[in-house]
């Protein structure tokens, strides 16, 4: 590498950007962007982009009141409100006054959960914030499926961001429900959550030993076991090598294990070997 040539290349790339910026037509003023955001006749996508410019231009030291207002307005287009959620998430990362407006953001997100088009985004942020009212809503939806805001696997995934005893209880019950085995995505999330419960090792070992569960859930169970009890890794590997001979495995399980594709068993064996390598 010739460092002088390299410096020149970098300098040229910067100069090119600056030349482009100086050539470009007069930049729209922040007031113009704000006017566009307020213009309900403009396309929602255009207004969402203008909201991005407003939020960018107001810098790190200002409360992003335009985005907060747009998110909080239930009559606002979901496209603009969704953009506001992402922009406010972005602003939380570098705002010097983030703590001042975070409560207003959380309040607006809780309200946004009621809007189906915003629900996934709002729940994602609230669950990362470990928002208790949101967790209660999700738990309620699992206990009373008719009131569920999101599919079961999504609820479990969102709850996995903050494991409490009530979340573990729900996961325990779900892994014992035969019906759930057909809902692979939900079963997988329930197994993930059981990794936080030392009392669930036997359940996890049963999942690992049973080829009927599918390789993804069994791999998840292997990781959970190695986390809860690294010493149990050898036992899990033995289970993988001889699933049909495993103690306690019923006829149905044995048949299912026998049907499990060799490729899947190979993936599980490699997964367990990798876990042992990490611990080794």
């Amino acid at each position: 590498m010739d460092t002088n040539d390299y410096r020149r290349k970098i300098e040229q790339s910067v100069a090119k950007v600056r030349a482009r910026q100086s050539r470009s037509p007069m930049r729209a003023r922040p007031a113009d962007h704000r006017a566009l955001v307020s213009d309900k006749k403009a396309a929602a996508k255009t207004r969402a982009e203008a909201l991005g410019r407003v939020t960018r231009d107001e810098g790190a030291d200002a409360v992003p009141s335009t985005a907060l207002d747009r998110l909080s307005d239930p009559k606002e287009s979901p496209v603009v409100r969704l953009a506001a959620i992402k922009l406010l998430q972005h602003k939380q990362i570098f705002s010097s006054v983030a703590a001042d407006w975070r409560p207003a953001f959380i309040e607006a997100l809780r309200a946004a959960v009621r809007e189906p088009k915003l629900r996934a985004a709002a729940l994602q942020v609230l669950s990362l914030y470990k928002d208790r009212p949101t967790q209660e809503l999700l738990l309620q939806g699992i206990r009373e499926p008719k009131r569920a805001l999101v599919p079961l696997h999504d609820a479990l995934r969102l709850l996995s961001n903050d494991i409490h005893a009530d979340v573990i209880d729900v996961a325990k019950k779900l892994t014992n429900i035969r019906q759930l085995r057909k809902n692979k995505a939900a079963f997988m999330q329930a197994v993930r959550i059981l990794a936080a419960d030392p009392g669930s090792i036997a359940t996890l070992e049963a999942v690992l030993a049973n080829g009927a569960y599918g390789v993804d859930a069994r791999r998840m169970a292997a990781t959970a076991i190695s986390h809860l009890s690294p010493g149990a890794l050898q036992r899990t590997q033995d289970a993988e090598r001889a699933p049909r001979a495993r103690r306690g495995a019923g006829a149905g399980k044995r048949a299912a294990a026998a049907k499990a594709p060799a490729k899947a068993r190979g993936a599980l064996a490699r997964h367990i070997e990798t876990l042992q390598r990490i611990r080794g």
């Binding site: 950007v17 203008a50 960018r56 939380q92 994602q124 990362l128 990781t223 990490i278």
Partner: protein, 419 residues
């Protein structure tokens, strides 16, 4: 040949790791009847291995040379010299760079490594796998794991120490260094490689590396991992897996940021300004814009380090700062164009930084995870309680100033002496 060599002023073999900055070294012969003339040179120990160059003196404009001839006194006195990695030829494997000391009668070969942080998308498979295994081990051993302790530093209550001000870049440089040194304690050949978020990274978002990452506007998913990827053992807060989706196609596109608040590419970032107050606005974009190009843990401050991609993202943020510093010769911490502080603890140039300083009284948080910055066998700087100042001249470039060499380089940020 009766010659001894110290790399990084140490006889300890674990100190034999160099970067693009000149490492302080010493050479001597055992006491003899006459002085001995030796020529130092370097060559790769294997195909694609690292190569070193020599610095005869520290002066602005001084160029490294491929060889260096020294006269070793008969009395066995140590003779100083400096060597650094040859730009563009870093190591791939541990100790794949050879330092050769030749005299007319004999020669001595010392294996070492030109260890630099590299573009993750261009790593050899074995470099990638060593990095992943070290990372997985750091997150798996002991309770709480060393990785968990690092995560406990990047939490909401500590936000003013880390974000929303001029300390953002120095604090995260130190945070990365802390992680990197702990990874190197597991495997000394590992570096904190970076993800260039302004370029497609088809080799990063795979089952073999950071995980196959689905595209979704608002819902994160578990990333898919190959059974042989050490990240299959990734557990945070007692729950396995990594929750992440991308708003873009990770294999063919660069991270976009958000409509109206797009991610700046490298040239646009460097064009933010030549003085620190302008340049540090990169905290918003590209830094923040890269975070929110994803859904899941990495999109929020307290959960972001749960995703190992976080550190590769920040390594690129730090690389951009290093590149800006090199381009604009910004290494004198006393110059406000280099660093412009604020009147708050942890933000002035001479302040120590939380949590490494252990201070738990206001305005600092009332807790301080860890026991100071991890040590390095290669350098004693910046010590266990780094200051903002100690992060600025990370290459130890300034002539006549105490070298603050921190022991890392980026593969595309060269070394130059500065005033």
């Amino acid at each position: 040949m009766p010659i001894e060599i110290k790399i990084n002023d140490s006889e300890d073999p674990t100190a034999r790791y160099i970067t693009y900055a000149p490492s302080p070294c010493k050479i001597r012969q055992t006491p003899a009847a006459a002085a001995l003339t030796v020529t130092l040179s370097s060559q790769a120990g294997a195909a694609g291995g690292g190569e070193a160059v020599f610095y005869a003196n520290r002066a602005v404009g001084a160029q490294p040379t491929p060889t260096l001839t020294l006269t070793l006194p008969a009395a066995g006195t140590w003779v100083d010299f400096s060597l650094g990695g040859r730009p563009g030829t870093p190591s791939i494997d541990d100790l794949d760079c050879l330092l050769i000391a030749s005299s007319p009668s004999d020669s001595l070969t010392v294996p070492l490594m030109v260890r630099v942080r590299k573009n993750a998308n261009k790593l050899k498979a074995r470099e990638r796998d060593r990095f992943l295994l070290a990372l997985a081990k750091l997150n798996s051993t002991l309770t709480p794991s060393a990785y968990q302790i690092l995560r406990n530093m990047h939490v909401q209550a500590a936000n003013p120490e880390e974000h929303g001000g001029p300390q953002f870049l120095p604090w995260h440089r130190t945070y990365l260094l802390d992680l990197e040194r702990q990874l190197q304690a597991i495997d000394p050949s590992v570096s904190m490689h970076y993800w260039r978020f302004d370029e497609p990274a088809a080799n990063v978002f795979t089952k073999l590396f950071m995980g196959e990452t689905r595209q979704s506007p608002d819902t994160p998913f578990l990333v898919a991992l190959d059974p042989g990827n050490p990240l299959v053992g990734w557990v945070t807060d007692s729950v396995p897996g990594i929750l992440r989706s991308a708003t873009f196609n990770t294999l063919t596109q660069a991270a976009p940021g958000l409509p109206g608040f797009e991610l700046l590419n490298q040239a646009e970032t460097l064009a933010l300004g030549d003085a620190y107050p302008q340049f540090r606005s990169m905290e918003g974009t590209p830094h923040g814009a890269a975070h929110v190009s994803f859904n899941g843990w990495i999109s929020e401050i307290p959960t972001a380090p749960k995703d190992p991609l976080f550190f590769m993202l920040h390594s690129n943020v730090d690389r951009l700062w290093a590149l800006w510093q090199w381009l604009n010769l910004r290494t004198d911490a006393g110059d406000p164009d280099v660093y412009t502080g604020q009147n708050r603890d942890g933000r002035r140039v001479n302040d120590t930084m939380w949590p490494w300083n252990g201070i738990v009284t206001a305005p600092r948080p009332n807790f301080a995870p860890g026991n100071g910055l991890a040590a390095s066998p290669q350098t004693t700087t910046p010590g266990t309680k780094p200051t903002v100042r100690s992060t600025i001249d990370y290459h130890g470039s300034r002539v006549g100033a105490p070298a603050d060499w921190l022991g890392f380089s980026y593969d595309d940020v060269p070394f130059d002496f500065t005033v």
